[in-house]
C-alpha cells in the first residue's frame, strides 16, 4: 500500500482530567474515502479537529505525507491547510449571510478571483447541490437537508484536496442521509479528493467507504475495508455495529450485509444441501438519472424499491439486503429457479400496481423539456451451497433484465 497521506502516531488528547484519545494510531490514504465509526462522544470529531489544526495533540504527532505537521513551517502549513476543507457537524453556516454569500465567502476572502469568476464557480456549485431555489435565502429559512447541502457546497467551493466531513448526515431522514452520502461519493469520484467521514450511518456508509476506522475506548481498534470489518472479532462489534445495524433494520426493514450473511449461513448450515434462489435488483443508470431528477428523488426511488422488495419477500420468508448504493439482493430459501421466477413475476405485478404510482408522485421531477427513465432491473439464479452465494449473486446479476419502467416527463405526462 502507498505511504499514508495523513498519519496519527500515538496521539493522546486530554481535556482536563478526561482523556479522549489515548495513543491513537491511524493512517489515511490519498484518494480514498475513509470513515471513522464509533459511539457518540467517543472522540471522533476531536480526531478530525486535529487534522485541520483546530486542536493540537497533548502527546504524539500527526504526520502529513510522512512529515510531522508540528515541524512544518508556517508558510507551508498555511498551504497545507488551504488544501483541507471541513464540514462541521452543525454546519457552522454564517446565519447573517445568504446561501450565495456563505458559499462565496472562502473565495472572496482567500483568493484574488474576479467577481464574475467567483459568481460562475458559486452558481455551478449551487446547481450541483440542487440549491438554485434557495440562493438568496438565509440558513435559518432552509430545511436541515438544505443546510447540509449548503455546508457541502461551501466545503467544496475551493476545490480542496482533502475534505473532512463531521457527521454529514446527522439529523436527516433515511432518504436524505443516503442522498448526502451519494452526493459525497459522486463528488469524491468527480473531484478525486481524499474524504474523511465521521458517521453513524451503518451500513449505508460502507457503500461509499474504501476504509473504515473504528474508534473504541479512546483507541483505534480497527483499520481496514468494510469487508474486513465484517470478520472483525472484538467487543466493538457487539456494542457498536450490532446496535446500529439493529436500528437500521428497524427503520428500513432491510438486513445489513453482515446480518444477511450470518442469517443465511446459520440457515444453510442446518440444511446443508438445500436449494435457494437469489434475485438481484437494481435501478438502471443511476449516474445519468441523478442529474435529471436530483439526489433526493433518486434516493427516494431506491428507498421505495427497497421497501417494496422487503414488503413482498419478507412475508414469504425471504431475506433482503442492500448490497451497494444501487443494488438489493433477496435470498429465497428452498426456492428453485422456477419458483424464484414465479415469485419475481408476482413481485413485478405487485410493484406495478402499488409502487410505481408512489414513485411517480415522489420522484418524477424533471426540468422543463427534459425526460428521465426509471428502469428497474432484476436477475435470478439458483444456488445450492451457501459458500458459493457470491457466485450465485454474480450469476443473477448477469441475467438482469428490465422488469419495470417509469417514464418521467416535464409536462407531468408520466407513464
Amino acid at each position: 500500500m502507498d505511504a499514508p497521506l495523513i498519519e496519527f502516531r500515538n496521539v493522546t488528547k486530554r481535556f482536563g482530567s478526561n482523556t479522549v484519545l489515548d495513543r491513537v494510531n491511524l493512517q489515511i490514504y490519498e484518494g480514498q474515502v475513509t470513515t471513522i465509526i464509533g459511539l457518540s462522544g467517543s472522540g471522533k470529531s476531536v480526531m478530525l479537529k486535529h487534522i485541520i489544526g483546530l486542536l493540537q495533540p497533548d502527546e504524539g504527532e500527526i504526520l502529513f505525507r510522512g512529515r510531522p505537521i508540528a515541524k512544518i513551517g508556517r508558510a507551508r502549513k498555511a498551504v497545507l491547510f488551504s488544501q483541507i476543507s471541513y464540514m462541521f457537524q452543525g454546519n457552522a453556516l454564517f446565519d447573517s449571510m445568504s446561501v450565495y454569500d456563505n458559499i462565496a465567502l472562502p473565495l472572496r476572502e482567500t483568493t484574488r478571483l474576479s467577481k464574475s469568476e467567483i459568481d460562475r464557480r458559486v452558481m455551478a456549485r449551487i446547481e450541483q447541490t440542487e440549491l438554485t431555489e434557495a440562493v438568496w435565502r438565509f440558513p435559518s429559512e432552509l430545511s436541515g437537508g438544505m443546510q447540509k447541502r449548503v455546508a457541502l457546497a461551501r466545503a467544496l467551493i475551493t476545490d480542496p484536496k482533502i475534505v473532512l466531513f463531521d457527521e454529514p448526515t446527522t439529523g436527516q431522514d433515511p432518504v436524505r442521509k443516503n442522498a448526502i452520502l451519494s452526493m459525497i461519493a459522486q463528488y469524491q469520484r468527480k473531484l478525486n479528493f481524499t474524504a474523511v467521514l465521521v458517521s453513524h450511518e451503518i451500513p449505508d456508509v460502507y457503500f461509499i467507504s474504501n476504509r473504515i476506522l473504528a474508534l473504541y475506548d479512546r483507541q483505534i481498534v480497527f483499520q481496514g475495508t468494510p469487508e474486513e470489518l465484517e470478520n472483525f472479532d472484538h467487543p466493538f462489534m457487539d456494542e457498536v455495529i450490532n446496535s446500529l445495524e439493529a436500528l437500521q433494520k428497524e427503520l428500513t426493514g432491510l438486513y445489513s450485509q453482515r446480518q444477511f450473511k450470518m442469517l443465511n449461513h446459520a440457515r444453510m448450515k442446518r440444511q446443508s444441501a438445500e436449494v435457494y434462489g437469489v434475485i438481484v435488483f437494481s435501478l438502471q443508470e443511476m449516474n445519468t438519472l441523478i442529474p435529471k431528477i436530483g439526489h433526493d428523488a433518486a434516493q427516494e426511488a431506491l428507498r421505495n424499491l427497497g421497501l417494496a422488495i422487503n414488503r413482498h419477500f419478507g412475508i414469504i420468508g425471504g431475506m433482503s439486503t442492500r448490497r451497494n448504493t444501487n443494488e438489493f439482493i433477496t435470498m429465497l430459501p428452498h426456492a428453485d429457479l422456477a419458483e424464484t421466477e414465479s415469485l419475481l413475476r408476482e413481485f413485478v405485478k405487485d410493484f406495478e400496481t402499488q409502487t410505481l404510482d408512489v414513485l411517480k408522485d415522489r420522484t418524477c421531477r424533471v426540468a422543463a423539456g427534459d425526460a428521465a427513465d426509471l428502469a428497474v432491473l432484476a436477475g435470478i439464479a439458483e444456488g445450492r451451497n451457501f459458500s458459493d452465494v457470491n457466485e450465485t449473486i454474480v450469476q443473477a446479476k448477469m441475467k438482469q433484465h428490465e422488469i419495470a419502467r417509469l417514464r418521467c416527463a416535464a409536462s407531468g405526462e408520466n407513464r
Binding site: Q56, F81, G90, E109, T110
Partner: protein, 305 residues
C-alpha cells in the same frame, strides 16, 4: 514596519497562541490551578481570604494581558487587504446608526446643563459664564463619556452578542478552517470603526449639547444670546477640544476591545455554557466597558491636566 519594530518573533508567538485561543485558557487554568487541593490546615484556612484576593488579582492581570495581545493582534490586521469595505460597514453600524440616540441624549444633557448653570450662576451675577460652563463640561467630560456609554449600550452589547453567537455556533472555527483569520475578519474592522466613530459622535454630542444649552438658557430662561456664544468663543480652546477627542479615542479602544474580547471568548467562560454564556458575556461587556470608561476617564484627565 510595525512588525519589524516590535520584533517579528514576538508577533508570531502571540499570533500562534491566539490562533488556538489558548491564551485565555492559560489565564483561566492558571487561576484554577491555584485552587489548592491539599487538606486544609488552620493556617491555610486563615490564609484563604488572602489567597482569594491573590487569585482575583492574578486573574485580572492575566485577562488584562490577554486583552492587550488581543488588541495588538487586531490592530496589526487593520491595514490588510479587503478590510476597507468591512470597516465602512462597521462605521455605519457603530457610528451612523448611533447618531439619533446621541442627538437625543446630547440635546437633553445640554438643556439640563444650561438650566442648572443658569440657575446657579445667576445667584452670583455670573450668568455670562453659562456658555463656557456648558461647552467645557460637554467638550472635556460629558461628551466623550456619555457618547462612549451610549455606544456601549447600543453597539457594544450587539458586538459582544454577535461575536459570542458566532463563537458558540462554531462559525469562528469555520472561518479558521477556511483560512480566514477571525481577528482580521471580525475584530479588526470593529476596532477600527470604533476608533473612527467615537470622536465623530463625540463631536456631534458636543455640538448638539451646546445647542441644547442655548435652547434652555437663552430661549427658555432668557439669557442674552450674545453672552452665551461669546463666553464659548472666549473660554473654549482647541486644546480642550483635542483633550476631548483623546478621551474619545481611548474610550473607543476600550469599548471595542472589551466587547469583542468578551464575545470572542464566550465559549471559555467557566460560569456558564451555550446561549447563557453569550448572555453573560454581553452583560460583562457592557458593565466592564462602562466601569473602564469611568476609570480611564480619571486616568486620562489626570494625565492631560
Amino acid at each position: 514596519m510595525l512588525r519589524w519594530m516590535l520584533g517579528c518573533r514576538v508577533v508570531e508567538y502571540y499570533r500562534q497562541i491566539f490562533g488556538e485561543a489558548r491564551l485565555m485558557a492559560q489565564a483561566l487554568d492558571a487561576n484554577n490551578n491555584m485552587k489548592a487541593t491539599r487538606k486544609d490546615t488552620g493556617l491555610r484556612l486563615m490564609s484563604r481570604p488572602f489567597a482569594k484576593v491573590g487569585r482575583l488579582v492574578i486573574f485580572g492581570v492575566n485577562h488584562l494581558g490577554a486583552a492587550a495581545i488581543f488588541l495588538f493582534l487586531a490592530l496589526s490586521q487593520i491595514f490588510r487587504r479587503k478590510q476597507f469595505a468591512k470597516i465602512i460597514e462597521q462605521i455605519y453600524f457603530i457610528g451612523a446608526r448611533s447618531i439619533s440616540i446621541i442627538i437625543l441624549v446630547s440635546l437633553f444633557t445640554g438643556m439640563v446643563l444650561g438650566l442648572q448653570a443658569h440657575h446657579a450662576l445667576v445667584q452670583f451675577g455670573a450668568e455670562g459664564a453659562v456658555g463656557s460652563l456648558v461647552s467645557l463640561s460637554l467638550i472635556m467630560e460629558l461628551g466623550p463619556v456619555l457618547t462612549a456609554i451610549m455606544i456601549t449600550a447600543r453597539a457594544g452589547s450587539a458586538i459582544a452578542a454577535e461575536i459570542g453567537i458566532l463563537r458558540i455556533s462554531e462559525q469562528i472555527d469555520a472561518l479558521s478552517t477556511m483560512r480566514i483569520n477571525p481577528m482580521r475578519y471580525l475584530i479588526s474592522p470593529r476596532i477600527a470603526a470604533a476608533i473612527v466613530s467615537f470622536p465623530i459622535l463625540t463631536a456631534v454630542f458636543d455640538l448638539v449639547g451646546i445647542f441644547g444649552g442655548y435652547v434652555s438658557a437663552v430661549l427658555l430662561v432668557g439669557l442674552n444670546s450674545g453672552a452665551y456664544w461669546h463666553s464659548i468663543q472666549v473660554y473654549v480652546t482647541s486644546g480642550d477640544i483635542f483633550d476631548g477627542f483623546v478621551k474619545a479615542v481611548v474610550f473607543a479602544v476600550i469599548v471595542a476591545t472589551v466587547c469583542c474580547y468578551q464575545g470572542y471568548f464566550a465559549h471559555m467562560r467557566r460560569d456558564s455554557h451555550g446561549a447563557q454564556s453569550v448572555g453573560l458575556a454581553t452583560t460583562s461587556a457592557v458593565v466592564l466597558s462602562c466601569v473602564l470608561i469611568l476609570v480611564s476617564d480619571y486616568v486620562v484627565t489626570s494625565l492631560l491636566i
